[in-house]
Symmetry: C3
Subunit: 162 residues, 3 copies
């Protein structure tokens, strides 16, 4: 059953979330408050450390942007894992703000951000179903094509790893 | 007294919130975590299902954009109601992120988003007073003129309807 | 130790946070729900009431934008203080959404928003370390260069001042 064990599902998918991105400035990857974890905006970092860049709707196609949003999802899960240890502690993915670096006339932001939403539902099952907005930005850092931030709910007993 | 009974006030205003918009992608209209409900970004969907589209500050006037933001508010209340049943369970509207699909030189985002804020205060009274940001996007899905997301606080005892 | 006493640190820095900005529309500067305070988006208001305006990356330089973000931080702290009284009640700065009114080809949003993040860490110490996103908007109200919204966690016992 997808989502029953998110760690196993990630292994099946061959996705490595052991190394969260280092913040490029004076902030942290995620903060827990009560049972909520607020995860910093994550870009489409590939496993080799490079980023998907370019305006969606011209330099970057819809399919490429979907894959970029999926990469944002991988990095969000990695940042979340750095706060909660075992991803089995995640009770619910609560909310995404999906930000697309799109041409002014672009229409398909929801289809782009599905790259992240589909991954979350694949990995966390019903617990991965979330509220979200999918919108178009004027610009994003270093011309990255997509950036996504996330709120998750974790089990009360979750210990933050050292 | 406005807001004492939000369901009655909506009826007085002739606003139907019985049918939340169906998400156009892999997400849900709202997620409750603890006493907070995070409502997905809602567009300016008219009762007939059509959307207000076009850039604010050129194709769409300030007055039209105010009405578009009010429609976003109607859809936010409908999505919230789908999670909380009776709107009397809403303790507080906490926060809006009001996103205007505006021309780069547009100045009046706050006046646009007032279309939603005024409705919320009209319907929920003092409980409808919220924190917010009102900002300008580079683009929005299908050229909609405004999109707004919301966080609300509900009474502890609120049961999510089946 | 920086942050041990945020009120003292602000005094050392000569920063006055006694006067939060008045909302320019139908909303409030901040809303508390549980132990969280959601602070409305704040612009780069100078002590004399004027605002830093203009597109970052052309009319406004990176250094000027950093200072603008720092001013947003001052206004965020003032709005937070209006809700929590003594800033010693702040347990954690949880999250920023840093929005830069940037040229479409601008790259350095994180360096801009550091103006706010650095101030928060200076004032609140380790409690000031937060999750965040730093992104580029198509436009902002009255052409302000930066707008930032914030979520903070306060001590359970915090009384909202009258």
């Amino acid at each position: 059953m997808p989502g029953a064990n998110p760690e196993e599902r990630l292994a099946q998918l061959g996705i490595d979330v052991s190394t969260p991105a280092s913040p490029v400035a004076n902030y942290v990857p995620a903060v827990r408050t009560g049972n909520l974890v607020f995860v910093s905006g994550q870009g489409p970092r590939r496993p080799d450390g490079s980023m998907v860049t370019g305006k969606v709707g011209s330099a970057v196609s819809l399919d490429e942007a979907y894959e970029a949003a999926r990469l944002c999802g991988v990095n969000l899960i990695a940042a979340l894992k750095s706060q909660v240890g075992d991803l089995g502690n995640v009770r619910r993915i609560v909310k995404l703000l999906g930000m697309v670096n799109a041409e002014p006339g672009f229409n398909d932001h929801p289809k782009v951000i599905n790259g992240c939403s589909d991954l979350l539902v694949d990995v966390f099952g019903d617990n991965g179903k979330h509220a979200r907005s999918a919108v178009g930005m004027g610009s994003l850092p270093d011309q990255i094509s997509v950036e996504i931030e996330m709120i998750a709910e974790v089990a009360e007993s979750t210990q933050i790893p050292d």
